[in-house]
Symmetry: C2
Subunit: 378 residues, 2 copies
């Protein structure tokens, strides 16, 4: 299994990105991922009860396991809390793209990220679509990965290549952070493209398994977004022996996890205003779910996060967050170890003496810079 | 019903406070509240699974509805996460006080607040106890209320006087904040003294009712402490007609709520590093519990709190926090109103179109000052 720190498109995929004028800064803000081969799709969305228009539209398009070709993404505007008008805006932009591509609108998925509560500048998007489609290329991934980001300070990308039988399969992922990150598909977008030949059932199950231990194990500020999504398109172009629930599945999940874990870690590494990357491992729990719950309780504690920022060895705050997690825990048998605090990478190890399961969660510290970014961001 | 913004001890109570050397600053750090009359007690403690030694000891002393005389409180050291030695330290300090007072040790309740994970300086406390007891007086409440605080910038105190029959009843409360404040008895200490003649059943029920809508409706940073407690002593000295569940109960709860609400609001007003006092009312919910859950989801959102700090009218963050609360909510029918943001006092009104219940929660903004205080606090 080979891991590349760059996005390299799998066979049969193209992409593009451009600036259509949503961002006042003039930065890239519209991206397209496309395959002309009929691809299978698996998606996981935010569990926030308020869901942005693009999420609502995707849920319609994903009914019935159709074939998919494209994902269109805009940054700078989340098209959320915009009511029925917002849903119509999302539909209109997809319709325009379908027309230009000569494709069915149901074959297109859509994502938006940025400010909540403002109407999408639909006209700007519609005007840019012909150029967006015309410019689709394999190298276009380098523009697309930039066009999906907002306050991110770097692009998030990874590619894994591995063999199934004699055929090489590629999984390429790009993502955006960087604030409002909490588990359960909260506040990030991630697009994963693969040429693997895989059944739709296996693709969905693999995504769930990979996300559970990667994107659902990161938190920046405990805030769950209304827009976030991880989407996979698999276009079968690699011609590998079929991956199904019982065939080559473990290998595929392993590769997909590598992709998701790297993207998840990059999101935390680029967390708004963060000065530390903190790995919290909770071991000797009754189950993975309980271990993760304890780890997230620590990771989301503002007092813990500020202590890390201050390089302040106040481990009582860790014990207190463990106790507040809701899991039955006894003080006796609770062990806390923390690596030296004067480094950028901090390891927190907590053993709770309850069982044999463990979970690892990734988070950042809470800094004045975070406050400044989010006090001003509009 | 008369409300005084100062602590005025009810009939039969004395108090004192002094500096025994726990705080390096030399500030007051040991307090005693005392009545020589046999008093009934009602207490509510943190729901954190890791509970400090004083909480554990109180739970022992509260078994069997005995008579109580005193509450001893130290600030500067939480005596938490200190294991069996910590529990023995708490027992030893209570034993020393019982000896000096000539009282049973089970008649004494105890509270600690400050840094977690360090042994209590028992010798300093034991040495100070004779002076602490000797100095008990009615005016001593002014020292006691100072000796219970940590990072608080002002004392929190209130007194309510009202008649039951022809007798005047007094309820006096003092409290400490100021960080690590979250619902469910999280991170604050509050001591309430009353001369009311009241059955122990009514006292407990009244406290629960009052706390549910006051102390359990405030949050500063969502962090639940290991030490926090609200304790009431009622010494019957007012000679009023008995308050029982069915007699004069509503009036007593009303007075107790005034005391608790003022103390709760003062804690939020003095929240670490806060620049705003924010009242969040959620209305048209199915129940009080659901309304409070939604309000707390907003109040605990770092993105909401930083938006308030930045006077940034990013109401999408409110909608997003409503959706993340776990309550079933539809975007349609969700209404958000926020008072002008350039003031110190902010009103947030959210209507969720689900039913007829409402709840009000009090919180503060999240500022660089909070980060600084908690990055450095040891």
């Amino acid at each position: 299994m080979k891991v590349y720190t760059k996005a390299i498109l799998p066979i049969g995929f193209k992409a593009n990105g451009l600036a259509c004028g949503i961002k006042k800064s003039g930065k890239l803000d519209l991206a397209l991922f496309d395959t002309r081969l009929p691809a299978k799709a698996a998606c996981l969305f935010t569990t926030n009860k308020i869901q942005a228009a693009p999420i609502q539209l995707n849920k319609k398009h994903l009914k019935g396991d159709r074939q998919y070709h494209s994902i269109i993404v805009n940054s700078g505007n989340a098209n959320c809390f915009t009511g029925e008008k917002g849903l119509r805006d999302a539909e209109e932009s997809v319709k325009a793209l379908a027309h230009t591509l000569g494709a069915k609108k149901e074959s297109i998925l859509v994502a938006s990220t940025g400010i909540i509560g403002r109407r999408l500048p639909l006209l700007k998007i519609k005007r840019a679509i012909p150029e967006l489609v015309k410019g689709l290329s394999r190298a276009g991934i380098d523009k697309a990965k930039k066009a999906i980001i907002t306050t991110d300070t770097f692009t998030k990308e990874v590619t894994v290549k591995f063999n199934i039988g004699k055929r090489m399969v590629t999984i390429c992922g790009v993502a955006k952070g960087a604030g409002m990150i909490a588990p359960h598909m909260a506040t990030m977008l991630s697009f994963i493209l693969t040429d693997a030949q895989i059944s739709v059932g296996a693709l969905k199950k693999a995504l769930k398994a990979a996300v559970d231990q990667t994107f659902n194990c990161i938190t920046v500020d405990g805030c769950m977004s209304t827009n976030d999504a991880v989407m996979v398109l698999a276009n079968n172009a690699a011609g590998n022996p079929l991956i199904d629930i019982n065939k080559n599945f473990v290998l595929f999940v392993q590769a997909l996890k590598i992709v998701c874990l790297r993207l998840a870690k990059l999101i935390v590494l680029d967390a708004e205003g963060a000065s530390k990357f903190i790995q919290i491992k909770v071991s000797r729990a009754k189950s993975f779910a309980e271990a993760r719950q304890v780890a997230l309780s620590i990771a989301n504690s503002n007092l813990f996060k500020t202590a890390m920022y201050g390089e302040n060895p106040n481990f009582g705050r860790i014990a207190s967050a463990v106790g507040a997690s809701g899991i039955e825990i006894k003080e006796k048998g609770l062990k806390v170890k923390v690596s030296p605090l004067n480094k950028k990478y901090i390891d927190v190890n907590v053993s709770i003496n309850q069982g044999r399961a463990s979970a690892t969660v990734y988070t950042s510290d809470l800094t004045c810079e975070y406050i400044k970014i989010n006090a001003e961001y509009n």
